[in-house]
């Protein structure tokens, strides 16, 4: 999907996206504390219209990415970034205050849309691993960049990441890579059920890059094959999570992707045709930043949605959101994050 959900609410700003085959979902939530100034208000008169949902803006990914494209330039030139929305004329404005008095203003049109949320409860997963992002990257580095899918096989005694090749590809041509890890390399290791789940590595690389930039611990929640796997990072101000569909393993080792359920509002729609990763054409674009800089914008593919559920009190209709400002000033962030800046 080329779309990008921009969801400001009282507590902070959520950025979400999903891929066209609905087999990967990502959400990055910036708490209001991440920003130097965060203000989210509602116009009281619109409450009367009894809008059921808070405003969610859907943007085209391609128009957002160029705003934050060149990380080095951003780091060097931009002093402040203001973001504000004007519901009346359906625009989100990104205003970058750069050096030498230059101000770059980007006005992006949005569509109002239903919010996007994956139905997935992490606390229901029997298998939970927590691993340093550095270590996870060190593991994934052994897979060639063209490797699409990776299987993680776990038992309470060991963990193994291995490359996955689809049956149609000639086994005698492809190289297979396996990495064995010791449970004590993980910060937290809980395996409730032995399982082997296969997910799309490409989708994950965005999160890995982000994780490395923030030196965070990555939590992995999963179940048996066919059930989704979630990779998440949490720290004081930002929470990011990627939920990926996994291949369902049928007895005679034929794999087929499990159909995932899509639902918006209360309706459940079945996705019957999940494109296999081989056919996905993925234009993979990651623009990562540390807290010190600006935003992390990922492009995700493959996801599934679940019912959107939001509490009634969030349902305040509003027109004008005012400034949500992120700045790269030192006073925002603790010193340890400053050290990430190269």
């Amino acid at each position: 999907s080329d779309e990008f959900w921009f969801d400001p609410n009282e507590k902070g700003l959520a950025l979400r996206s999903v891929n066209s085959s609905r087999s990967a979902y990502a959400c990055v939530f910036f708490s209001s504390m991440f920003f130097q100034h965060y203000c989210w208000t509602a116009e009281p008169e619109l409450c009367q219209k009894k809008r059921q949902s808070p405003l969610t803006c859907k943007l085209i990914m391609k128009s957002v990415l160029p705003v934050f494209r060149c990380l080095n330039t951003l780091e060097r030139n931009v002093e402040k970034c203001n973001i504000y929305t004007n519901v009346n004329d359906c625009h989100i404005t990104f205003k970058l205050f750069c050096k030498h008095g230059i101000i770059k203003t980007h006005n992006l049109a949005f569509h109002e849309s239903e919010p996007l949320q994956a139905v997935f409860s992490r606390h229901m997963c029997p298998n939970v691993l927590k691993i340093q992002s550095r270590l996870l990257t060190d593991v994934m580095i052994h897979f060639p960049t063209c490797q699409e899918e990776v299987t993680v096989a776990v038992t309470p005694m060991k963990v193994c990441f291995k490359s996955y090749t689809e049956e149609e590809i000639d086994f005698s041509k492809a190289m297979h890579t396996k990495i064995h890890l010791n449970p004590d390399e993980f910060d937290y290791f809980q395996i409730g059920v032995d399982s082997e789940v296969t997910f799309c590595l490409k989708e994950l690389r965005g999160l890995l890059a982000f994780a490395e930039a923030t030196s965070a611990t990555v939590s992995v929640h999963f179940d048996v094959s066919g059930k989704p796997i979630a990779f998440s990072i949490e720290d004081m101000m930002v929470e990011a999570s990627f939920v990926l569909a996994t291949l369902a393993d049928i007895e005679n080792r034929e794999s087929s992707q499990q159909s995932l359920c899509l639902s918006q509002r209360q309706k459940r729609q079945k996705i019957t045709d999940l494109i296999s990763s081989k056919k996905k054409s993925q234009e993979y674009c990651v623009c990562t930043t540390t807290h010190f800089i600006k935003y992390c914008i990922f492009q995700f593919h493959s996801l599934f949605f679940g019912a959107v559920s939001f509490k009634e009190q969030d349902v305040i209709s509003h027109t004008l959101h005012s400034l949500a400002t992120a700045s790269d000033a030192e006073d925002d962030f603790d010193n340890e994050q400053l050290s990430h800046v190269v």
């Binding site: 270590l135 297979h176 396996k178 010791n182 390399e185």
Partner: protein
């Protein structure tokens, strides 16, 4: 048929990786010949390669700490494998800080060269990464196809200029033409020429020196009778030349080429532990 080898020294691993990287740049698939003392990477002059052939020889003792090989039969104590060097290159790429690297011939779902890398880790046991690279076993009846090519009866033999310089010259020429003329004489002069309808560019190298060759019967080579000013030339595919030059990761100890006028250019690059011969045929 068995093969097991181990590298423990970081410098050896590094060097071996660089050799593999060079081979990977020169050939998509090639033949790996294993004998008790040596490893050979061979590419034969099939039409599919554009007539290019390669012969690269390494002494195993310079790289491996342990090397055990049992060939197909006692009288033919060798193993010939068909392999994609790019896979080996990829497997070694992330192994540079390994404690040990073991390479062995295994039979998983098909014959494989398994590269097992033992990496240092924070936990008590090392992290093991294994790569299974599928290979094809070449039957003995085909071994004759992979004999060492003989040095051709060349017209001129000359040392090459500094490869880095040569590479940057050829790189720029590549944008102008697909063919390049390589000519040299016994006076240590070499020219690289391209000629198109619009432009012709020539780069002249002087003072290169000509290696002394002694022919088998001990007498001086017949090229001694040749006029030292006279150029021997061959028109070759510029991309093949660039492949050879660009693939070099380390400067060779000796680099020379033998030109058979209008037929073939034979390049010889010698490093301390590795020798590489590369043949590029002349274009019609």
């Amino acid at each position: 048929m068995r093969f097991r080898a181990k590298i423990v020294d970081v410098a050896c691993l590094n060097h071996f990786t660089r050799v593999i990287n060079t081979i990977a740049k020169l050939a998509k698939t090639c033949t790996l010949r294993l004998t008790v003392d040596k490893l050979y990477f061979i590419l034969t002059d099939k039409v599919a390669n554009g007539g290019v052939s390669m012969w690269c020889e390494l002494s195993q003792g310079n790289f491996f700490d342990e090397f055990q090989m049992e060939g197909v039969a006692a009288e033919h104590n060798e193993i010939y494998l068909e392999l994609t060097p790019e896979n080996l290159s990829r497997a070694l790429k992330t192994a540079q800080n390994a404690k040990t690297v073991k390479i062995k011939l295994t039979n998983k779902h098909c014959p494989c060269l398994t590269v097992a890398v033992e990496l240092p880790s924070l936990s008590s046991s090392s992290r093991i990464v294994t790569h299974d690279i599928p290979v094809g076993v070449i039957p003995r009846r085909l071994w004759n196809d992979f004999r060492e090519p003989s040095v051709p009866d060349f017209d001129v033999s000359i040392y090459l200029p500094v490869l880095k310089t040569m590479k940057s010259v050829v790189e720029r020429m590549k944008n102008l033409s697909n063919c390049i003329v390589l000519e040299a004489n016994l006076n240590g002069e070499m020219n690289l020429k391209i000629e198109t309808d619009l432009v012709s560019v020539t780069t002249h190298f002087k003072g290169l020196g000509n290696p002394p060759w002694v022919s088998e019967d001990g007498s001086q080579n017949s090229t001694q009778d040749r006029d030292p000013e006279s150029m021997a030339e061959a028109r070759i595919d510029i991309r093949k030349l660039l492949q050879l030059l660009a693939g070099q990761q380390v400067n060779p100890t000796k680099a020379l080429c033998n030109i058979v006028s209008k037929r073939i250019v034979h390049f010889i690059l010698l490093h301390e532990e590795v020798s590489l011969q590369y043949f590029i045929p002349a274009l019609a």
